[in-house]
């Protein structure tokens, strides 16, 4: 798929602006500045159905140009416009050039790393099962209404909102060194939000499925997974109406793969982003990554990489550099930061290139794509069935078999990720789950969800085992510096964490 140096002209709408990009490069050369020009076109279609009725159908089509210029000294400025005429683009370039020179005059921060990047020419258009026009919006509306009705039929106590969004994001990046990289980011995701209500008790549980096109709603197998997840969410929302609270404290824990993704992403991935290492627990005072530090058990690795077909797919950075795999933790030891062209040197690590941007209108910053926790020699589950069919009883049986569930020492199984937040400077994290199960040698009991909070490094060191195969499709959106980009990841179906006083469950 990655055709380095290829002249193949696969269809991208923004190809019509190739001449404009050439003109900008010529002007930048004449002004004796280095230019990274980013052209983006984003097309989105979305249908939302609430309680059987279409709530909204929206479409969006936006495009624009971001220009980051560097003086010979490495001083930089950025300008953006959404008017793709030569006049508007050249005005933006002039503004950026003038500002970069002003930045040099003012002695602001300089960074010449881009001058050392090798130029490539590449075009990546990943295969998608369905084109964005494969379904008319009326047909998509019909599909989403059917899914919503199927979810409502799961339980008469439920309210349900179903939403499906398809996006097609095109990028073309050119640089003054001759690099020209164009790529397509196709995404489609569908989610169901179910609410159960009885008197003053209200519980909302969501589930989602992502892919690169309409297969998430059209293909029988994918649709079954989507509805299977919705069924779990619906059952849970109703069951939680009668569930008591669980006492706060530190316990042996089991996290499902979605919560494990939350742990990897929020608690660890952000701390490994190389633009902020001076204020990260994984960096030192000079902003260098603490490569070689032991931060987890020897069985634990954390890896971030772009995966074709994934919600967070990102084959190249907005700097026009291929995105490569980052083994952040290699068997317990810190190895690689999420570094981009500009931060790698200061961090003392190699270029991943981890930069991403939500929009042409903002500078790119280091971000995760698909991040996962891998554990050596994962333990088996009693039933070799998909994750959606694994029950709390399956988890309990697996723990009993592994000798990790003992008389008088309950294990708390946290299921479903409901978001999280972290402060990388201190390594404080907070997540919430959709449900909390107490697993004992006697059986399983459901309790109200509770926050899972603590210290990043303590949580990592507490990971002692994984169960089942890897599942990496926990999707979300990640916000940083005012930019939101798709994120995803996962782990083995389940992770086991030993009790640690710096990792606590909230609750009663």
């Amino acid at each position: 798929m990655y055709e380095e140096g290829s002249n193949q002209m696969s269809n991208l709408h923004i190809d019509i602006y190739a001449g404009l990009l050439d003109r900008l490069l010529q002007k930048a050369a004449a002004a004796r500045v280095y230019l990274i020009a980013r052209l983006q076109r984003a097309e989105v279609r979305s249908v939302t159905v609430t309680n059987g009725k279409t709530e909204s159908i929206s479409t969006g089509l936006g495009q624009g140009l971001g220009l980051q210029v560097f003086t010979e000294s490495g001083h930089t400025a950025f300008a953006a416009t959404d008017i793709l005429t030569e006049g508007a683009a050249l005005t933006a370039l002039e503004t950026a050039v003038k500002s970069a020179r002003a930045a040099a005059g003012a002695g602001l921060e300089a960074n010449r790393a881009v001058f050392n990047v090798s130029p490539i020419s590449a075009r990546v258009i990943p295969p998608t099962r369905y084109a964005i026009d494969e379904l008319s919006l009326a047909e998509l509306q019909q599909q989403v209404e059917t899914i919503n009705r199927d979810v409502l039929a799961l339980n008469s106590e439920l309210k349900a909102r179903t939403s499906c969004t398809i996006e097609r994001e095109e990028w073309h990046i050119v640089r003054s060194d001759g690099a020209s990289v164009a790529y397509l980011l196709p995404r489609c995701y569908c989610y169901n939000v179910v609410t159960a209500r009885r008197d003053e008790q209200v519980h909302t549980v969501s589930s989602s499925l992502s892919g690169s096109s309409y297969e998430v709603v059209l293909d029988a197998e994918r649709r079954a997974v989507l509805l299977g997840r919705a069924r779990r969410a619906a059952d849970l929302a109703v069951a939680l109406l009668d569930a008591p609270d669980y006492p706060a404290g530190s316990y042996d824990l089991v996290l499902d793969y979605a919560l494990a993704k939350g742990l990897a992403h929020e608690a660890f991935g952000h701390a490994a982003e190389a633009d902020g290492l001076r204020s990260s627990i994984l960096g030192d005072d000079q902003g260098r990554f603490r490569t070689g530090a032991v931060v987890a058990a020897p069985i634990v690795s954390i890896i971030d990489e772009s995966i074709e077909g994934d919600h967070a797919y990102q084959p190249f950075s907005p700097n026009g550099v291929p995105r490569t795999r980052a083994t952040i933790i290699d068997h317990g030891v810190l190895r690689e930061a999420l570094a981009d062209v500009f931060s790698a040197d200061a961090a003392g690590v190699r270029v991943i290139d981890a930069a991403r941007a939500q929009s042409y209108a903002r500078p790119a910053v280091p971000r995760m794509t698909n991040i996962r926790i891998e554990v050596d020699d994962p333990l088996p589950l009693p039933r070799a069935v998909p994750f959606e069919e694994q029950t709390p009883e399956d988890v309990r049986q697996a723990l009993l078999t592994a000798g990790l569930l003992r008389e008088g020492r309950p294990v708390i199984y946290l299921s479903g990720y409901k978001g999280g937040q972290v402060n990388p400077a201190r390594g404080d994290f907070v997540f919430n789950c959709a449900a909390l199960y107490e697993l004992t040698t006697e059986g399983v009991r459901l309790f109200q969800p509770a926050i899972f909070s603590g210290r990043t490094l303590a949580a990592l060191k507490a990971i002692k085992a994984g169960f089942g195969p890897l599942q990496l499709d926990s999707m979300g959106f990640c916000g940083k510096m005012g930019q939101s980009v798709p994120s995803s990841g996962g782990s083995h179906f389940f992770l086991f964490l030993e009790a640690n006083p710096q990792v606590v469950i909230g609750g009663r």
Binding site: Q63, G64, F78, A102, A248, L277, N423, S453
Partner: protein, 437 residues
Amino acid sequence: MSYLDDLQAAIAAHPDVADYRITLNERRGVSIGIKDNQVGNVYNPFTFSAVTSGSFLIQWRDGRLSRGSLDGSSLEQIGPILEVARQAAYEDPDAAVFLGPQRVTTVPLFSTETASLIDERPGDLLHVIELLQQQARRIGSTILSGSVGASISRRMVRTSRGLNLVEDTTSFGYSYYFDGILGDGFLSRAPVSLEEIEQQTQRTGAFFAALKRPGRSGMSGQLQLILHPNVAYQLVDFFILGNLQGSLVYHGQSAFSRAAFQEGQRVLREDLTLAVDPLVQMGPGSYAFTGEGVPAAPATYIGRGRLEQPILDLKYARKMGLPPSSPPSNAYTVNFFSQRHMPDWEEFLPQIDEAILVLSLLGLNTQERSSGMFSLTGPQALYIRDGAVIGHSKATFRGSFFEALRSEELQLIRFAGQHSPGLSMQAHVTLEQRDEV
């Protein structure tokens, strides 16, 4: 002919269009930041943007509706945009409201000084960064991140029924974060003086300095919990304003039912009022009309503890048979106050026996909005004993926000330099077993 004129003409010329509304925002801005002590680095350089954003609502001749987004290049693609929009049409009769000419109350929201910062003196923004650096050094912060920016916007709404509204505004904002643990941010219409920025950073700096000292650790139980205004507003926004949204109320997904509004149910203590005022002169969140062209007007959503009206756009106003209302645009438009005495922090502090003051919050995005229950972490909190700030504690706290706002123990506290009040309440608090900063 302006860009909007051309867009309007193109939409109006479509033979199937019966009615339409176009909302457009043309914005130009400049900003610069400091990240981990690096001023204007590759992630926070001088950034100039000139971007148009907006949306349209079209009712076709068959009665169906389409929605879509607009930007600065929409005109050149208006054919395909309308084609896709036509395909995307759906039945939503309650949303088909297209206002005619409206009388709006205008308040000044434009500063020529802010405009000149963008066009003539962007370098002056560096004075703010320099001041932040000085302040960071003064309070012993070794790593500073922050930003400063200015923008000028023209917001326009037009409809096929003759509505034609224009509003010119400016915005100036700055934010700072000391050592990655504590910060603040402020907005205004006109640039603020360096003295005012210095005062604000000194207020943050006083709390930052106190965080360097150890507080109490390793306790768990009922405790007086004081939420700094920044934290308190986050909870008010999430649990109260969030549940006032008309669409959630209508669909039964809010903590407050339609019947509760009809009955004027008391949901907060009888002295508490939550109102929105979008018509404050030079108010950082003020506006003259909504994106749908509804004239802005002060609105009380909860008056003396009782539900008065949900936050309603045109669609849900029609569905619920009520007039549309002015939504909050940011914290500066929200007035949450008590009829009882609201002491200043300096007056309140000496009266405290034992409490925890939460300065920053983690985890609000993980909470269940409609339940009102919270279980949160305050990584930067100050332990207070006998009227004196002792030092840093990390607190986890939980309870019911609705119950707290009905409790007699609740107090609203004024903090200097903050628009929103702080809140003092009782909650179950756990202080982490660790006394280091």
